[in-house]
């Protein structure tokens, strides 16, 4: 850089605050700083999205304890509900909560669903038997129980029917319908007759596969509803006594 330019640059470097200006500005700055404890303190803004997980130690224990109490209480209620029968306070929890949730877990396959619905059919009949043993199966409760058993049985048959339809679609040569003439709708009618007779109807409706070698799982499943019916023959008769109580007496009902 030539001398002329260097000289001018040196002159430019001489541009600065006068001593009085510098002192005055410094005083003004310190006054500003001291008037407030700190200036423009960075404010930590909690993210509204993260706040969910932000628990201070103080709150964490309280929240944890509350959650544990809720879980234990809920578990206790659910367990107690499982033992309930129609007419009990917790029966609603059993049918509308516990079983509903369990049903969701069994929707993974038609076979699982069919087994579960049949299991619930067994449960409904168990409940009816308990009520009958404690002489509570009468009046409105009896009607309610009859309705619940009938609905659940319908569901069990529908699930089985859906499963068989699926299997039939997969291979037309395999197995025929598990349920022959016995349909959910006329189950009640079938049960009006002799219990033995009804069992026979169920047996006859189970046809053999054309290939002659039923799979074990399918055979087991096809027997499940039948087993439930056999197991609860007595109570089924008792429940069907409304239109046909005489049939139940004939079959040795107490």
């Amino acid at each position: 850089m030539d001398q002329k330019m260097q000289k001018i640059i040196d002159e430019m470097r001489e541009v600065k605050l006068s001593p009085s200006e510098k002192a005055s500005l410094k005083a003004s700055l310190f006054k500003e700083i001291d008037s407030k404890n700190t200036l423009f303190v960075p404010v930590t803004v909690s993210s509204p999205y993260f706040a969910w997980f932000h628990f201070s130690k103080k709150h964490f224990e309280f929240v944890l304890a509350s959650v544990l109490i809720l879980v234990l209480f809920g578990s206790g209620v659910a367990f107690a509900a499982n033992q309930s029968v129609p007419g009990d306070i917790l029966y609603g929890v059993k049918t509308k909560v516990n079983e509903k949730v369990a049903r969701l877990f069994h929707k993974t396959s038609l076979a699982s669903e069919a087994l579960f619905e049949t299991h619930l059919m067994d449960v409904r009949l168990d409940e009816a038997e308990k009520l009958s043993d404690s002489k509570k199966l009468e009046g409105s409760i009896k009607e309610e129980v009859r309705k619940d058993v009938s609905e659940q049985t319908d569901r069990a048959f529908e699930a089985e029917s859906a499963l068989d339809k699926e299997k039939k679609n997969k291979d037309e040569n395999k197995g025929s319908l598990l349920i022959g003439t016995a349909t959910p709708k006329n189950f009640g009618n079938n049960m009006n007759g002799n219990g033995e007779e009804n069992n026979e109807k169920l047996k006859s409706s189970t046809s053999t596969k054309d290939n002659g070698v039923p799979e074990n799982a399918e055979e087991n499943r096809s027997n499940t509803i039948q087993k439930v019916v056999e197991k609860h023959q007595k109570i089924l008769e008792e429940l069907k006594l409304n239109p046909g109580e005489s049939h139940g007496e004939k079959n040795g009902k107490e």
Partner: protein, 163 residues
């Protein structure tokens, strides 16, 4: 006490850089009073940053603060500082400069005024504020090599204009 320590550090920082920052703002705006106001803003921002001990308040950081303050002003005013300077005349505080030197300065300012803003800034930071290419790179958020090349080109253009 931590605050006392910070106050002392701030005072030292002010004594070291107030003139340089003022000069930068003055040459960028052409207005002495405005440059003083800007310097106050820059210092207050520096005070805030000082409380965040993760930030190192070196020269490049302070010039970056100054540059951002000037840019904000430009956005509001949208006027050419150098045009103002040329219209108002260049009057340094030191009145001892003789007439011929003053005339030379005016001539130089006119020449610099013909340069692009980026070239003016580069020359100001490099030769007036005496920042190294590395420091200028930090201020302008550029690579050091880029700054060296720009300084060289700006000087070349200034020589072309001065012929």
């Amino acid at each position: 006490m931590e605050k006392e320590k910070l106050r002392k550090e701030f005072g030292d920082l002010y004594e070291a850089y107030a003139d340089a920052l003022f000069r930068y703002c003055f040459f960028k705006t052409g207005d002495r009073e405005l440059a003083k106001d800007m310097l106050q803003d820059i210092c207050l921002k520096a005070w805030v940053y000082m409380q965040d001990h993760t930030i190192v308040l070196g020269r490049p950081f302070l010039y970056r603060l100054a540059r951002n303050t000037v840019i904000d002003w430009y956005r509001k005013k949208k006027t050419s500082s150098l045009d103002n300077l040329l219209e108002q005349g260049f009057e340094p505080e030191d009145k001892k400069a003789d007439t011929s030197a003053f005339a030379e300065k005016e001539q130089l300012m006119k020449m610099i005024g013909k340069l692009e803003n980026e070239d003016q800034e580069i020359l100001l930071l490099r030769f007036v504020e005496d920042l190294s290419p590395k420091e200028i790179a930090e201020v302008l958020n550029e690579r050091e090599n880029t700054i060296s090349v720009r300084v060289h080109r700006a000087l070349g253009r200034l020589r072309e204009i001065s012929k």
